[in-house]
C-alpha cells in the first residue's frame, strides 16, 4: 500500500514500530501533491520544506527513544481560515491574500504539540461562506472522485486533500455543514463537535454562535484521534467548555446493541435524490441489523432551520467582517476620506458571496427589520433546540442524510444563491442547536460517495464515534477509495 493512502492510525502504528519514517511518509504525500495538485487544487499554500523539517524532527525524537503522541509525524492539511503563525492565512479572500498571523490558533498549537506535520493551508469558500469551494477568490477545488464535480464546501480543500491522498488528515471548520458536506461528497469521515468542545481561538470568525473546528479523516478511528488531540478548554476562548476530554479512541467499540436510533422524516426533504435517500436508508438498516433499535420520528421545526440559519449566519458574518476596514489587514485602497477608503477597500477585497451575506446580514440587523428577522430567527432556533431536546429524551442518536444529493457539477449552483443554500438543508440544524454531528460514508450512488449523518445531544461525541465505528467496521465501504 502506498504510504500516502494510509489512515493516520495505520501510519502511526508503522511509525511507532519504526517500519517507516515520518520523512518517508511526508515525502510520499508531498509526491502525491506534485502529481495531483494541478487537477485538484486543494491547497492555497503548500509548505514542503517546513513539512520535511518537522518530519525529520519527529524522526530524530523517535530515534532518541522519546515516546511520542499518536499523531506525531502525520501529514495534515489545515483549512486556510485557521491561523498559523508566520504562514499566511488567506481565508481564500483577496482581503487577506498577504495576511500573516502573529500567533497560532489553539488547534494548531495542539496539533504541533502532538507532533503533527503541517503540510499546508487548504482551500475554502471565501471566509467559509459557501457549499462548493467555488467561492474561493483564487480557484475552485475539484472533487477527486470526478474533477468535473465540486468537493462540497466550505472545507472543500481539506476534504479533497484527504480524498486525493494529498494529506493523511485535515482540519476543517463547520458553521452550517462545512465539514460534513465535503466529507459526504468526498467519501470521508467528518465530525462537527459540540459547540465549545474545541477552541475557536485563531479561527477567523464567521458565525460566532455557530462555528466549530473539527477533523476530516479516512475513518472513524482517525476522527477520534484528532478530536482527542484538539478538544478541551482554552482560556483564550470563553465559549470553550470546561468538560473533561476523554480518550475518544476508548469509545471505539463495535457494538450498537440496544442503542436507540431515531430517524426524523423531515430530513428526507422534497426533491431529494431517491438513490441518495435509499443509500442512507440502507445504512440505517445496517445499524438495525447490528442490533440498534430504529424508530421513525418527527422534529417538526426542522424545515425552518435553513431559513433561520440564513438569517443568523449572515447577520453574525456582517458584524464579524466589519473588522476588514482597510486599517489593519494588509489591503487599503486609497480614497479622499476614510469612508471612501473603507468603501473601496471592501469593494475590492471581498468576493460576491461574502458581499451578498454582508448585505443580507446588514439588512436584517438594520433599524426596523431587526425584530422581524434576527429576533424571529433566534426564536425559531429555540424551537429547533427544543425539538432536539425532546428527541434525545427518547433516542441516543438520530440518523439522517447529510445532503439531498451527491456531489454536483462545478458551476451548477453558483448563479443561484438559494439553490446553493439548500445544499445545507440537512446540516444547519445541529449548528443552530450547538450539537455534534458525525458523517460516515455509507455507500455509492452512480459511483459517487454518500454520507450517513449521525446527530447526538451536546457532549455525545463518544456515542456518535462508537456508532460510526460499529457501522464502518460492519461494511466494506471503509476500503472503498476512488480509483485514479
Amino acid at each position: 500500500m502506498n504510504l500516502a493512502e494510509m489512515t493516520a492510525h495505520e501510519a502511526a502504528d508503522r511509525l511507532a514500530r519504526r517500519e517507516i519514517s515520518a520523512l518517508e511518509l511526508t515525502d510520499a504525500v508531498l509526491n502525491q501533491i506534485d502529481r495531483r495538485e494541478s487537477t485538484i487544487r486543494a491547497y492555497v499554500t503548500v509548505l514542503p520544506e517546513r513539512a520535511r523539517q518537522q518530519a525529520r524532527e519527529i524522526d530524530r525524537r523517535r530515534l532518541a527513544g522519546e515516546s511520542l503522541p499518536p499523531l506525531a509525524g502525520i501529514p495534515t492539511a489545515v483549512k486556510d481560515n485557521i491561523s498559523t503563525q508566520g504562514i499566511r492565512t488567506t481565508c481564500a479572500s483577496h482581503m487577506l491574500e498577504r495576511y500573516v498571523p502573529q500567533y497560532d490558533a489553539t488547534v494548531v498549537k495542539r496539533l504541533r504539540a502532538a507532533g503533527t506535520v503541517v503540510l499546508g493551508k487548504s482551500n475554502l469558500d471565501e471566509f467559509a461562506m459557501g457549499s462548493s469551494t467555488e467561492f474561493s477568490a483564487f480557484y475552485p477545488t475539484a472533487n477527486p472522485w470526478d474533477p468535473s464535480l465540486v468537493p462540497g464546501g466550505s472545507s472543500g480543500g481539506s476534504a479533497a486533500a484527504v480524498a486525493a491522498n494529498e494529506a493523511t488528515m485535515a482540519l476543517g471548520s463547520d458553521t452550517g455543514g462545512s465539514i460534513r458536506l465535503p466529507a459526504s461528497f468526498c467519501g470521508l469521515v467528518g465530525l462537527k463537535p459540540t459547540y465549545g468542545r474545541v477552541s475557536r481561538y485563531g479561527l477567523v470568525a464567521f458565525g460566532s454562535s455557530l462555528d466549530q473546528i473539527g477533523p476530516l479523516t479516512r475513518d472513524v478511528t482517525d476522527a477520534a484521534l484528532v478530536l482527542s488531540a484538539i478538544a478541551g478548554h482554552d482560556p483564550h476562548d470563553s465559549t470553550s467548555l470546561a468538560w473533561p476530554v476523554p480518550d475518544y479512541r476508548q469509545a471505539l467499540i463495535p457494538d450498537v446493541k440496544g442503542l436507540r436510533i431515531g430517524v426524523p422524516s423531515e430530513y428526507f426533504v422534497e426533491g431529494m435524490d431517491p438513490a441518495v435517500a435509499e443509500a442512507v436508508r440502507q445504512g440505517i438498516n445496517q445499524l438495525a441489523a447490528l442490533g440498534a433499535t430504529v424508530e421513525e420520528t418527527s422534529l417538526p421545526n426542522t424545515k425552518y432551520a435553513l431559513a433561520a440559519y440564513y438569517v443568523v449566519a449572515p447577520a453574525e458574518a456582517s458584524s464579524n467582517l466589519a473588522r476588514y476596514d482597510g486599517v489593519k489587514y494588509t489591503i487599503q485602497v486609497d480614497g479622499h476620506d476614510v469612508m471612501e477608503m473603507m468603501d473601496r477597500t471592501r469593494e475590492a477585497g471581498f468576493g460576491p458571496e461574502v458581499k451578498r451575506r454582508i448585505i443580507v446580514g446588514t439588512y436584517t440587523l438594520s433599524a426596523g427589520y431587526y425584530d422581524a428577522y434576527y429576533v424571529r430567527a433566534q426564536k425559531v432556533r429555540t424551537l429547533i433546540k427544543r425539538d432536539f431536546d425532546r428527541a434525545f429524551e427518547k433516542f441516543d442518536v438520530l440518523a439522517v442524510p447529510t445532503a439531498p444529493t451527491v456531489a454536483f457539477p462545478l458551476g451548477a449552483r453558483i448563479e443561484d444563491p438559494v439553490a446553493m443554500y439548500l445544499t445545507d438543508v440537512c446540516t444547519v440544524t445541529v449548528n443552530a442547536a450547538g450539537l455534534p454531528g458525525l458523517v460516515v460514508p455509507c455507500g455509492l450512488v452512480r459511483g459517487l460517495p454518500v454520507g450517513l449523518q449521525l446527530l447526538g445531544a451536546a457532549g455525545s461525541e463518544e456515542t456518535l464515534l462508537r456508532t460510526g465505528f460499529a457501522f464502518e467496521q460492519s461494511g466494506d465501504w471503509r476500503n472503498r477509495r476512488f480509483g485514479e
Binding site: 454562535s209 480614497g335 429555540t382
Partner: protein, 96 residues
C-alpha cells in the same frame, strides 16, 4: 418581496461596502429572493418563544485580572497596509 435599489444602497452604506453597478442590480434581485425564502419563518407563532441567547449553557466566564504578555508593537503593525511610525495610517476622517 421586492427590494428597491435605494434600499440596497442604504444597506451598502451602513456596511461601508462599495458595490459596482452590476452588483447593485444583482443584489437587489437576490436580496429579494433570499428574504422571500426566509420569510417562511413568519408562518410560525413565536410570540411566546424566547429568542436563543446562547446554545450551550456556560455561565460567568471570568479570569484573573493579571497582566500577561501580549503582542509587540512590531507584531501588531506587521500586517498594516499603511504605517506611519508606530501608527496605522488612514486617509483624513474630517476635511481641514
Amino acid at each position: 418581496m421586492e427590494i428597491s435599489l435605494a434600499e440596497v444602497d442604504h444597506v451598502a452604506e451602513l456596511a461601508r461596502l462599495g458595490l459596482t453597478a452590476l452588483e447593485r442590480e444583482q443584489f437587489r434581485a437576490q436580496l429579494s429572493t433570499i428574504l422571500g425564502y426566509v420569510n417562511q419563518l413568519a408562518e410560525l407563532d413565536t410570540s411566546h418563544v424566547p429568542p436563543s441567547a446562547q446554545i450551550i449553557q456556560v455561565e460567568n466566564v471570568t479570569r484573573p485580572d493579571v497582566v500577561r504578555p501580549g503582542l509587540t508593537v512590531e507584531q501588531v503593525l506587521a500586517n498594516a497596509p499603511v504605517r506611519e511610525d508606530d501608527y496605522f495610517r488612514v486617509p483624513p476622517v474630517f476635511e481641514e
